[in-house]
Amino acid sequence: MVASDVAGRSDAAETSVWVRAAACFGRWQGGESAALDELVRLMTPVLWHTVRAYGLSQAAAEDSVQNTWLALVRNRHQVQEAAAIGGWLLTTARRTAWRAKSTDAKTLAVEDTQLAAGLPSSRAAEASAMEELASTALWQHVQTLDARCQRLLRIVAFDDRPDYAGLAQSLGMPIGSIGPTRRRCLDKLRSSLEKGGQL
C-alpha cells in the first residue's frame, strides 16, 4: 500500500481511519509516544475483526491482536512509509491468525454456532429491537454461506483495499479468483436474503 492508495479510497469514513492511522504512526515515528496509544485505539477494532474472520476462538484472537502490536513495536523500521501502516498491521494480523489457526487442530469449530445461539438474549437489552432484528437475521443468512465466503466477506467488509497477494495466500485461493469469489459470495448472500423475504 502506498500513499496514493490511501488518497484514492472512496469511502469517506474508511479513508479517515487509514489516513488517521498514517498520521498517528508518523507522529509516533517522530517521537510522540502518546501517538502509539491513539493508533492502538484506532486500529485494534479493525484487527479484531480481521483475525476473527480466520475462525480463531476469542482467546486466540485476542492473543493474535496483542502479538500484532508487539510485532509492530519491535519491527517499526519495517514500515518505511507512514501511509503503509494500515496495510502492514492487517497483513501481520492475518499472518499471525493464519499461523495460530493452522497450528491449532483443537480450535473450537462450534464457537460461531454457540455465539449465534447466544446472541438474541444477550444483545437484545442493549440495542434497539429493529436493529437487533436486522443484524441477527443477516447473521442467520451469513451462516448458510460456506466458510471461505464468510471469511472473505468479513475481511473485505473491514478492509476495503486488502493486500490481495497476502489474502490469496492465507485463504488458499489464487489471487485472480478473489474478486470473482467476493462477488459470488455477495450474490449468494443477497439471493438467500431475497428468498427469506429479507430484501
Binding site: 492502538v40 495460530a100 443484524s135
Partner: protein, 159 residues
Amino acid sequence: MSAEERDPLLVAVKKMYLELDPVPVGLTERVLVALAVDDLELEYELLTMVHRSQQLAGVRGGDDQKLVMEFTAAGVTVLLRISAVDAKHRRIDGWVTRTPDAKGELVELTASLWQEAGTATSPVGSHGRFEFARVPSGLTRLDLVSERDSAFRTTLFEI
C-alpha cells in the same frame, strides 16, 4: 472496484459483525498494558496462543475449574494448567516441549512470570516441568529465558 466497495450489503455485513461479535471489553487496554511492559532490550520470540479452554474437574464449578492454555513458537510448545488456590490466587503447572538444537542439546530455561503485582521465577526441570504454587489472579505474562540467546514470551492473559 470502488462501486463494489460501497455495496450496501457489505456495509450491512460490517455493521452486523460490529454488533454481534464486538471487540472484547478491555482488549485495547490490555494491548496498551502489554506494550507498556514490553522491555525492548530483551530479544524474544513471541509465543502464539493456540488453545485455551476451561475444564471442569468436578461437578461444581468455582474452585474446581481448571484453565488450560497452549502456546507455540518455532520449536517450542508450552502447556499451562491453571487452577484456583482460593478466590484471589492461582496455581500454575507448566510443561515445555522443545526440539533439541543442532547439537542435540537443550539449553536450561527459567520460567518467569510477569504480573501487575510483581514477578516470580521457576526453573524449568529436565522434563520440561515448572510450577508456580501460589500467584495472584489477574493479568499475567510468561517468559521463558535461558542463559544463552533464546527467549520466548507470551502475550498478556487473564488467570
